[in-house]
Symmetry: C2
Subunit: 464 residues, 2 copies
């Protein structure tokens, strides 16, 4: 039996232990976006430090003005292979509305579903389950062979779901310690439950919280309705004007740098036989709402968007309150592709708002960290080797895919550390990663660990 | 010393006791719009029953499917005078945002301000302080003369701030018990702190809560942004289209039944020398936002409006959550004037929404009780007598004014009980009645009691 086969066997034999460890991490309510959970984020970081130490890593918690980073290093069995940097995040999304969960979000459990067993918990797929596939792969290599197959550094952050305010300064300050030959990122999904996937295009992001203030205090709409400007009305106008009737974003210059797809990619994507209709129907929709003239897959992978992620103003609770509010707030995000410039788009958005601001209203902005889109060069050896390793594990050809989401760290890894990233993940479309009842397929977790075992084996045979 | 003078003297002498009783009522957090305060509403009703009994009323709490009604009766000193029905409401508005209060909303106190002493508490002006001016006036008549000057019935409800769902059925079922010769309503304001005011025009109201549903669950805006319709975007469009650039409401037929003001009324209002600029500046605004071509006073008293009183969708809490929400909700109210038809306007609003609803969105409605505007006939004896009594108390001519707010009960008193209403109130523009730090001027309370003493004296000299 080869070394690789023995490590894979150890993965299968140790699955229960791996699940027990994952459940320990999932039980920590490390919601980064809400200051009430600061202690939980620290607890998750400490948990990871301890766990990485148990695999032989030299692991350290690094405190930041926000949530801590975890950095760990371990040499490989020889000095020959490449130095790999694995990135993941231990923070999770908020859980509201809690009443829509049918389990407790931080009491992980295995559930039988028609599609197979799943791990049910907030963070199961995004990103705790995913990052632990890599840690467990390292553990099995260590256990069977006594060492890792190549030198590995690990970098976990705890602010991915809250705009990563500490990420860029931390990467800049710790550039030397973090730099390796290639980054591995496990925060993406598979094409479907049988098709392993390397994500090679990621949408970028510009996010802004805007607050419109009208009157200096909340007013009675009977006493002031008419002459007093209502900031909700102003906000509605600003937001309604962001799209035209064809679903296009109206900001001047918004589509600058948006590439049309090559015929080759169009063909490759068409050959995936994506059922856009079924994709929409699974979430209760029937018609693509994006730009006319593009398939559903193209709208997600290759076209930029604008969405209002949150809006609030006045009294929206139980009953009715005839208030004319002083303030109204919206959180707006733009998904970027190709060479779209986050700074230019932010500027155009500010201009769009200022152009629509009546004399008695003011606006304040709170920016979420922005990032350009990422497009990988897929013709390098590591991409080919990872594709081969994944295809062997899943007994199905691994594909290169786009990804509608934004993983800003990939851009920072390129710009600050000058490294390419290999994005391999095992999430599925129905994981509900930002919604109630998030899950991660048990198969994703199990074969995810096995996939990393194989990828590490393949990559370690490269000269660094 | 006349009987009237002795009663007025008793008001002055008993002011501390009256305040103590008012504070007892203000300490009850009877927020009708939130089911969490149901017990408090009942407590306030019971408090009023006990207090009315202490004045010699035959008082009863009537339970309803919502909050209780309080009805009380007491004969006058002779059978000659008119039978009066006094209406008020003991429920109050919610207090959020609580952090903007500088006192506890349900711990009433007297505060010294540059404009004089005020009673600070939720409900101080709307409507507990106002209704107690009448109860205390009755108490003083009773105390000094041993009886009321004329037959009085009292009708308090506890759902005025939450759409009065039980009001119409209760009034219809208890028509005989509630019917009198004239209704007195104390839920309005004064022109300014020295000018007593009888409100003779009230705007009506149509209120609707609309919920737009797009996807069947909350989605990740990276994975679905583009093809998935965002219900906030749909809601923004619907609401933005309600006004044109001149501040006019765009619903077809909306202005049907809106009268142009007579030259006489225009002149009367102009003679009030209302400073629209100062009115707006006091709440941080500088330009009237309503229909062009009308003064601020006309926009409030004589023009219909549309306001969004609340909006919510997605994640608007601390931080950023890239959710594409399943639902978005708004609470919209229209203030009506003249002969505008609430049913026709509701219908036009539904049509406006349906016309803008894309194929994958649905809408649900929850109506707030609607009411036509009210315009009083001011040439009857009671109006003249009340105007005279008020002018004497305040040593300044009482005026007939419009009122931007809606008091639907006045319409129901007319349509169900076939009675006219005399609207006298002592609120001031800066009472912040639906906002943090609500107050009621101590002078309003004190001279309010004295005003009712005089009005009761004047009206009791009419034949019924």
């Amino acid at each position: 039996m080869s070394e690789l086969e023995r490590v894979l066997e150890a993965v299968d034999a140790g699955l229960d232990g791996a699940l027990e460890r994952l459940f320990g991490l999932l039980a920590i309510d490390s919601i980064s976006t809400d200051p009430a959970y600061t202690a939980s984020c620290r607890k998750a970081a400490d948990w990871l430090v301890d766990d990485l130490k148990s695999v032989g890593f030299d692991a350290t918690r690094h405190d930041t003005p926000g949530h801590p980073m975890v950095v760990a290093h371990q040499d490989g069995s020889s000095a020959e292979g490449p130095h790999l940097l694995f990135y993941g995040h231990y923070d999770v999304q908020p859980v509201d509305p809690l009443e829509l969960w049918h389990t407790q979000p931080f009491e992980p459990l295995i559930e039988d579903t028609p599609a197979g067993k799943v791990i049910r918990a907030r963070g199961a797929a995004d990103d705790k389950g995913q990052l632990m596939t890599f840690v467990e792969a390292c553990r099995c290599w260590k256990q069977v062979t006594g060492s890792l197959p190549t030198k590995i550094s690990i970098f976990f952050e705890g602010e991915e779901e809250s705009g990563s305010p500490s990420l860029i300064p931390f990467m800049e300050e710790n550039k030397t310690e973090l730099t390796a030959d290639l980054a591995l990122v496990c925060d993406t999904g598979m094409w479907d439950s049988n098709t392993p996937t390397i994500s090679t295009m990621l949408r970028g992001m510009v996010g802004e919280e805007i607050t419109i203030t009208g009157p200096s205090l909340d007013l009675h709409s009977g006493m002031y309705g008419g002459p007093a400007m209502n900031p909700i009305r102003v906000l509605n106008r600003i937001l309604a004007d962001l799209h035209d009737d064809d679903g296009k974003v109206t900001l001047p210059g918004f589509y600058d740098g948006v590439p049309e797809l090559s015929d080759e990619i169009k063909q490759q994507w068409a050959s995936l036989n994506h059922d856009g209709q079924a994709f929409l129907e699974s979430v209760g929709l029937s018609e693509p709402a994006g730009e006319k003239g593009y398939t559903v897959l193209e709208q997600i992978w290759a076209r930029p968007t604008c969405d209002v992620n949150g809006i609030a103003g006045g009294y929206a609770g139980e009953g009715f309150k005839t208030v004319l509010p002083s303030k109204a707030v919206a959180k707006v995000s733009f998904r970027l592709v190709g060479e779209q410039d986050p700074v230019a788009i932010q500027k155009a958005f500010y201009q769009h708002i200022n152009d629509r601001l009546p004399v008695d209203c003011t606006v304040s902005f709170k920016a979420k960290d922005g990032a350009k889109a990422t497009v990988m060069q897929v013709d390098s050896a590591p991409f080919k080797q990872a594709q081969q390793a994944l295809s062997e594990e899943w007994e199905n050809d691994a594909i290169y895919a786009g990804c509608g989401g934004s993983i800003p760290v990939v851009g920072h890894i390129k710009s600050i550390l000058d490294m390419d990233s290999l994005l391999v993940g095992f999430g599925l479309d129905d994981d509900a990663i930002h919604s109630p009842n998030e899950k991660y397929a048990l198969k994703s977790f199990h074969k995810g660990i096995r996939s990393w075992v194989r990828i590490l084996d393949a990559l370690s045979k490269n000269d660094s």
